[in-house]
Symmetry: C2
Subunit: 572 residues, 2 copies
């Protein structure tokens, strides 16, 4: 493509609204333009990248045996009412009425629609398993859309849904999707991790997230370099062995009730009492489905509310308000503790507390804490134990011996779920089994954030000069700079000839034949991040040479046309 | 693809809701499924057809120099308010509010969004002309969605928008699109016509519609077989020469005022008076932008309101109500006539009336008509003349000598418009010209109903057994029927080998290896309309032969595998 004849609007200034580097570079390089909050137009350059992502996703989905369909953006409310999500889904679900005042929504996902299709069209176990996918526009009405494509309101997703007779078949289909996702991200040239994940509001049992690693990622991922353990920090397990016996007490001095005027935080308590934070038991009142429950953690640990909720199996878990805490414990927040609790208030303790004796905690009286408490002596051992803490970098790996956890940031670009019968039960997706009996099918669902991958790639792969596209995603593989092409017919014709030859060989090429200074031309190609740059100038032509530079390198190389051809052909 | 492993749900019965044959066959053959009124899911087979249309459209748009982008489905109301269409567009524009109560709509077209992009990104005449297009989901909230894909609410369109400095450049861009459209429809193998068209609500000057010819088409098209004249009947010109002199009167008897009790229609008038309908001048009161105007036509002609409106250049033209008619003429409907009109009521006569003398008309009194009227003698010649009549089959061609008009039905699948400055003026799309002066750009817009083409093709190309896809649109080019493949390993393996060989040669092939009777297999392939059918059976294998039939033929042919290969390769 010739830049002089293309719609490639560049921005000299970094737009003020763009915080993330991917957002800045995609705007500056003319890949996207903002239409309104969370709404972006894909310009020719950006659309080429998007299509490359789509193509790789499509090929790997097809290879896995999934079949492509296309569902609508607008969905009838009735199906969402059947699944129960019309009520459950928050204001991110954009609801609307048609001219007849019937309710619809813009689809953020398509579980309901696909379940409706399946219950009408699938009758027999012989038709299963089946996996249907689409690459389609979705809408989520984010309260504060930002970060450009990363959290846009309208975006493009690949979503797949599989249907199975039994759990074994679901596991197999899930594994096939997991493998297909690994192939997709490998082919796209991304540094990614598949992590165990919480399946969140979508419901279901087992799930993995696929994260592109990047410092700006919204998610924290704990992983072990020693083995392949990786999990979203929200779910990462602490290495405490739940089967291990509790440490017996030794030499704990007698318990002492101390005055701690207005000492409410663990940090203040440790300082005031001259002890370490790890010698404190912190006590947190939470409301599990509106019923009070005390959680105990070591003072140097943080509560992981999501792990606690999964352990409890409750629908909602939240921190109690100060009023609720005082109402249920009799003590103000900051002075609650496990000793002398009102009868009937259940307690759940983090596994790390088993190894702790001689500790301090709130005394359930204003401005008073205990010192030198000992389980079994001063207060009963908690009846219930669980892994409640947020893991930290340096923790021992929960899977292997000798490994320890690191924590990095990731951008979620894929997610695979085992939905089980969450939707098939409510929408009645039933088929006849071999014995002629009706049976509810099991479902899996599998998403890839196609448009988000474009931004995540830039987050992972850029430098101070601009984007550095992996080969598989680059809008063009080669950029040719025609130096003074407007004035030198020889340069322009040599550049055009090279351009045409590359294009004919199936190597997408952008020829910068604009009437610009060489510095501007070089800066443009660096900004838009094409993997290979070739310079044509009068001086080089006189030598019979071309100048080559890879985007990832800083060295220029003089090459004959044949050598260049071989180099680029080899990279194709 | 193997049918036994594919999601190809067929319907045995024709769904009651489907009126059009395309709707019936696409449902029965498992190409689409209805989700809700006007909303359809594309199943694997249908999506393959849709993608073939998209690909041809994309290639021809790219070949014409247009550049692909992708705009959003959801559009902010502000832009529509700027263009004035937020008020003008009826309830087909689906309006909605986001969580912050801001107004949006689902885009039925994208003139506003593209104009907004252009005014931000195009500054100089050097960047023009430019043509940007997208293939995107659109939404029109039809009051009564029907005919399946033909008039769906959510549908897929290719829309392109071009920007130009002057009319000459616009004409050139328009011509390039016109040519690209012809190539698209030719490549798709469709029998189509490009017709002069009314540009309707979208505004603008010149436009052509592209119609696929089919008896079920909603539009009537007048065309001449003698020359290349073709026009939507809404716009088709009558052959009357506006420059021709009026016929002088000869031998008209004296005018007579006759009693015509309750004779209100032309038909009743002709019968009552014993004259032909062509000897009657019918008089119709219309309201042009709410101002009364009398239109005169020959009794055997019908008024073409659209032609009248274009001639008058008014924003709205409608038939007057009975009350309005009596108020402005003093006579009840059915008795209005051109003689003795109230002063100041303007009159516009159809050109065909110039040749008429000795005619009858209403007398502007209840239950009275004139007989033997004559222009110039009994009443003044009308001051204004225009082409107001609907053309009829058999009319002389308005372009060539000796040709006559035929009228056929067509399905509109494409439309090209010269918008001029309709949008660029309101949204302020201005660039600097060579002299450094700001100038409003001219625009063209060009649409193709991508999803509608799928239905239109079926309307044009089917028989009593099912769909007959043109090669370019078929979901698979070849269908292989493995007779008793479940019982004969030899048949299945031979069929699979042929399937794999064809697929490897880039010929998309469907292998029917389902456990079905041969009759069902044949009927399925006929229904889904693949161009080439190959049968593999034990009997044929023993002969070393395959049985071949083209979907358009009724003859089976016995071929050796080599001969078949040559035949299909030749068709590729």
């Amino acid at each position: 493509m010739r830049a002089s004849q293309s719609f490639l609007p560049l921005l000299k200034e970094t737009p003020a609204e763009a915080e993330l580097v991917s957002h800045q570079l995609l705007l500056r390089g003319g890949f996207i333009r903002r239409l309104a909050s969370g709404l972006y137009t894909w310009l020719p350059l950006g659309l080429r990248v998007l299509r490359r992502v789509e193509q790789v996703v499509r090929e790997e989905m097809d290879r896995s045996g999934a079949q492509e369909i296309l569902m609508t953006v607008v969905q009838p409310a009735e199906l969402w009412q059947e699944s129960g999500r019309w009520e459950l889904y928050g204001p991110e679900l954009l609801r609307l009425k048609d001219r007849h005042q019937r309710d619809f929504c813009l689809g953020p996902t398509h579980e309901e629609v696909i379940s409706d299709l399946a219950r009408r069209e699938i009758r027999s176990y012989r038709q299963l398993p089946v996996n249907l996918y689409q690459i389609q526009t979705k809408f989520r009405d984010e309260i504060r859309p930002r970060f450009g494509l990363m959290r846009a309101r309208e975006f493009i997703m690949k979503d797949a849904y599989s249907f199975h007779m039994d759990q074994a078949s679901l596991e197999e289909g899930y594994r096939a999707m997991y493998d297909a996702y690994c192939r997709v991200f490998q082919r796209l040239g991304l540094d990614f991790r598949a992590v165990e994940a919480d399946s969140g509001a979508i419901g279901g049992k087992r799930s993995h997230e696929f994260h592109v690693l990047a410092d700006s990622g919204e998610d924290a991922i704990a992983f072990c370099r020693h083995c392949d353990y990786a999990a979203n920090v929200e779910l990462a397990e602490s290495a405490e062995n739940p089967e291990a016996a509790a440490t017996p007490a030794v030499d704990t001095p007698a318990a002492v009730l101390t005055e701690t005027p207005d000492i409410r935080s663990v940090a203040a308590q440790a300082e005031h009492l001259g002890i370490g934070r790890h010698q404190i038991v912190k006590t947190i009142l939470v409301m599990a489905d509106d019923r009070p429950l005390l959680l105990l953690l070591r003072g140097d640990d943080e509560l992981n509310l999501i792990k606690a909720q999964r352990h409890l199996g409750c629908a909602r878990l939240r921190l109690a308000t100060a009023e609720e805490a005082e109402e249920h414990t009799g003590a103000p927040v900051g002075f609650i503790g496990p000793r002398d609790l009102p009868a009937g208030l259940p307690v759940l303790a983090d596994l790390r507390l088993r190894g702790l004796q001689d500790f301090s905690s709130g005394a359930n009286q204003r401005d008073k804490h205990w010192l030198h408490l000992q389980w079994g002596r001063d207060l009963p051992w908690p009846e219930a134990w669980a892994d409640l803490r947020l893991v930290q970098a340096g923790d021992p790996c929960p899977r292997c011996a000798g490994g320890s956890l690191e924590i990095c940031r990731g951008i979620e670009v894929g997610h695979v779920f085992q939905l089980g019968t969450r939707y098939s039960e409510r929408l009645g997706v039933r088929v006849l089994d071999e014995g002629g009996r009706e049976q509810t099918v099991l479902m899996g669902c599998y998403g890839i954030g196609v448009s988000r991958i474009v931004a995540a790639t830039v987050e992972q792969s850029h430098d101070e000069r601009g984007i550095v596209w992996p080969e598989a995603l680059a809008p063009f593989r080669v950029g040719i700079v025609a130096i003074n092409g407007r004035k030198s017919p020889a340069v322009l014709s040599a550049a055009l000839e090279l351009h045409d030859r590359l294009e004919a060989a199936g190597i997408p090429t952008l020829l910068d034949d604009r009437d610009e200074r060489p510095g501007v031309q070089f800066a443009t190609l660096d900004l838009i991040g094409l993997p290979h740059r070739v310079v044509v100038s009068d001086k080089l032509l006189a030598q019979g040479m071309l100048e080559y530079r890879a985007r990832r390198d800083s060295d220029n190389r003089l090459l004959t046309p044949d050598a260049l051809w071989e180099l680029l052909g080899g990279a194709s």
